[in-house]
């Protein structure tokens, strides 16, 4: 299958997708409820969409095209309210968080849809291990070359997005020591990582054709990259974030990505180079493991600082663009988090220290999700 045409989209528009956990209200383990919930929501008129995911304890809600932070927050709020209401009628709990704290991967069931069964056949237990919950943010691009420019430029900021959204410290009943353990599951997939360093759409098409010729991939969907172009929407999609514990945080992070993108597109502060990727996996690991306190190596100056310091420096650079986009409120909130170091992973660890029970932590996640 050839690569699709890069569709037109209004530059710097936003789209947010959130993968959510479905849990029972008895012991708060994951429960297969996606089918029930989709049936309950089928007749509702909603902005955006609600879709099934790989296993039947997951559900994805996505906004339509949003203009700015407010718009995204409103749409996410409407979707969340509808989801919570329908789930309540079914006695199911819904919550954010990048992983479920104590679920056993082997208990999961693949959602009944041909593509998911195909992936499960192909990837075996990895498919069930993929019961992890991420936030994806789409940024509209005026053309394909700009999309590639933006994808490479944003790669430098991946550690920010990871550290600010991190909400997956617990996996299979234990504290992993990571702030975002979720991304470790993504790394297991053979086609994960980053997109190759190509700067024009023609080069990208050539790469894509070579890959399809090997028979390894069929479509863009087979790449599990951290940032990937989405030609059918005319966007690039940032996929490294954990689903935050609230829609507000999700909208704030989306607004931050939008503001950084505007700054990159308008001011073109630097041209991306392949060598920028030398520190990519190191920085990414540091952000996953230590969050905002992780070490961040500047790809150009090779200076070492913390992720938090780099976030604050970036917020200062993009301030004018954030104001233009009405994203300054969101950026200020994220600045607070960078200064205090209390992201959602820290919140969850605090809840666990208080409750001494991961079941209770999940219940509190459900309560937090409603706020």
């Amino acid at each position: 299958m050839a690569l699709e045409q890069f569709a037109e989209s209004r530059p710097l528009t936003l789209g947010v997708e959130l993968e959510l956990q479905l849990v029972n209200t008895h012991d708060y383990d994951l429960v297969g409820g996606a089918g029930d919930l989709l049936r309950a929501l089928a007749k509702r008129q909603l902005p955006g969409d609600v879709k099934p995911e790989m296993t039947d304890s997951m559900i994805e809600m996505s906004t339509g095209v949003c203009e700015n932070f407010r718009d995204a927050l409103d749409q996410l709020g409407t979707l969340r309210d509808a989801l919570v209401e329908a789930a309540c009628r079914l006695n199911i709990g819904v919550c954010g968080g990048g992983t479920h704290g104590f679920q056993h991967w082997d208990d999961r069931k693949i959602f009944d849809k041909p593509r998911f069964h195909f992936l499960s056949e192909l990837y075996g237990y990895l498919a069930k291990q993929f019961t992890i919950f991420g936030q994806h943010v789409h940024i509209g691009c005026p053309g394909p070359d700009v999309a590639l420019y933006l994808a490479h430029s944003l790669s430098r900021y991946i550690p920010h997005f990871i550290a600010l959204s991190a909400s997956s410290p617990f996996v299979q009943g234990a504290d992993t020591g990571f702030q975002s353990a979720r991304l470790n599951s993504v790394f297991a997939f053979p086609l994960s990582g980053r997109l190759p360093f190509v700067e024009t759409w023609a080069e990208f098409e050539a790469y894509f054709d070579k890959m399809t010729a090997t028979g390894v991939v069929e479509s863009m969907k087979d790449f599990y990259w951290d940032i990937r172009p989405k030609p059918e929407y005319g966007t690039i999609e940032v996929r490294v974030m954990d689903t935050p514990l609230t829609v507000r945080r999700a909208a704030e992070i989306a607004a931050y990505i939008q503001a950084v993108s505007r700054w990159l597109m308008v001011e073109r502060p630097m041209r991306p180079r392949d060598d920028d990727y030398l520190v990519y996996t190191f920085n990414r690991f540091q952000a996953c493991r230590f969050g905002l306190a992780g070490t961040y190596v500047d790809p150009r100056s090779h200076e070492h600082r913390t992720v938090a310091e780099d976030v604050l420096a970036t917020l200062a650079s993009i301030e004018q663009h954030a104001i233009e986009l009405d994203a300054d409120e969101a950026c200020q909130a994220l600045g607070e988090i960078a200064r205090s170091g209390v992201n959602d992973a820290a919140v969850l660890r605090g809840e666990y220290a208080d409750a001494r029970s991961l079941n209770e932590v999940v219940r509190r996640q459900c309560l937090r999700w409603k706020t």
């Binding site: 029972n24 209200t25 008895h26 012991d27 708060y28 383990d29 429960v31 297969g32 409820g33 089918g35 029930d36 049936r39 309950a40 309540c88 009628r89 079914l90 006695n91 082997d106 208990d107 069931k109 029970s357 079941n359 209770e360 999940v362 219940r363």
Partner: protein, 402 residues
């Protein structure tokens, strides 16, 4: 003379403990065999073993032996009902009243169909109503054990627990009201006829509330999910049972009410002590084995055909009740049909309710027992299978058939 007190008598004399031990082992083996060879729920095997060893076939045990171990049955049932109560979240009814409506409809249809069928077969009004009331009940022990064995979780399982808990309540309340009516009819004493059911229900409510309160106080002092927790919980339930016995209150309602109150007042997840499952497991084997043993062949045969017809009507009533209200309450047709099937089991509870009536009105009990006991005999074996199939059809099992 001293000799006889220090040396064993020869040949060795069997004692009651030995018989009970052998019975337990046989039941366990039978459960395992049924699970491995026939791939049916283990509880079917336990009941089967009980029937084999009981008066129905081998005659190793008779109803007189059962009174000695009645406390084991009562404790096992109390544990299960308490756990079931904790899974009954009444807040759900506010969010989705249709769940409550579908419960009323399946229980109502099961009662109405059973009642009119009994009348059609020429039984008296009182007997028809009593059988109807008992037929509403869905066995909590079968439902909980089979669901636990299959590690079932999902919409159908959840509703099954809720409907089962409500059915226990309806069935007990209704049969006590009928007993009240009988005081009026048989003794002409309508004052007792009104006061007795009121006493039983209010008493159960008060004892249940007291148990809930005690549990919550203890929960603050102990981590109830560790070993200590199991001891505390067993002790608390035994205390409740002795209190209920002293007050001549039914054993089934109070633990259920206590569980539901606890869930309502404290929505935190309630995890059972790790060793609770093991200790509870032994009691559950005993529960099913003993219920199997309590079936006397003469009575089962006397109930015979009538019981089978009634069972079919009962399953139709329950299924129709949930299928009719499936769509509005949020179930697909397939799920609703599966749920109807899983509501079939009848077991220890029906037996205990019948016994309670037989103690007060032996003559009436003698008419009632054959019908109820043959229904129980059939469903002891088929009920667990119905739950297993239902949960499989709903796709909610997580053990055995991945």
């Amino acid at each position: 003379m001293l000799e006889s007190t220090i040396w064993p008598a020869w040949p060795l004399q069997g004692n009651d403990l030995m018989r009970l031990a052998v019975a337990l082992l046989l039941a366990a083996v039978c459960g395992e065999a049924v699970a491995r060879v026939l791939r049916l729920p283990r509880v079917t095997g336990y009941s089967l073993a009980g029937m084999l060893m009981g008066p129905a076939l081998l005659g190793w045990f008779g109803p007189e032996d059962l009174s000695a171990v009645r406390i084991a049955i009562d404790l096992a049932l109390a544990l299960l009902l308490f756990e079931l109560g904790v899974r009954l979240d009444v807040r759900w009814f506010r969010a989705n009243p249709w769940v409550l409506v579908s419960s009323a409809s399946e229980a109502g249809l099961a009662f109405v169909l059973t009642y009119f069928l009994m009348r059609g077969m020429g039984y008296s009004n009182g007997l028809a109503a009593t059988v109807g009331a008992i037929a509403i009940g869905t066995s909590p022990s079968v439902v909980m054990r089979v669901a636990a064995e299959l590690r079932a979780e999902g919409q159908v399982t959840q509703r099954l627990f809720v409907l089962c808990a409500l059915n226990v309540a309806y069935s007990v309340v209704l049969s006590k009201l009928i007993v009240g009516g009988m005081h009026g009819v048989f003794r002409g004493d309508w004052l007792v006829g009104v006061l007795h059911p009121v006493y039983l229900l209010a008493g159960s409510l008060i004892v249940g509330a007291a148990l809930a309160l005690a549990f919550q106080v203890l929960r603050r002092a102990f981590d109830l999910s560790d070993e200590q927790g199991a001891v505390v919980l067993f002790g608390l339930l035994l205390l409740t049972l002795s209190l209920l016995d002293m007050l001549r209150l039914p054993g089934m309602l109070a633990p259920l009410i206590a569980g539901a109150i606890i869930k309502y007042r404290d929505p935190r997840p309630h995890l059972w002590p790790r060793h609770f499952g093991t200790a509870g497991g032994v009691l559950v084997i005993a529960l099913f084995m003993l219920t199997g043993m309590s079936l006397v062949p003469g009575q089962v045969a006397a109930g015979g055909v009538a019981a089978v017809v009634l069972l079919v009507a009962r399953v139709i009533g329950k299924s129709a009740g949930v299928v009719l209200l499936g769509p509005v309450s949020g179930l697909s047709f397939r799920q609703a049909a599966a749920l109807g099937l899983t509501l079939a089991p009848m077991s220890g509870m029906a037996f205990l309710l019948t016994e309670d009536i037989r103690v007060i009105y032996p003559a009436f009990g003698a008419q009632l027992a054959p019908i109820v006991l043959s229904m129980v005999a059939v469903l002891e074996l088929l009920g667990p299978v119905a739950v297993q199939w239902g949960l499989r059809i709903a796709g909610e099992t997580r053990a055995g058939d991945k």
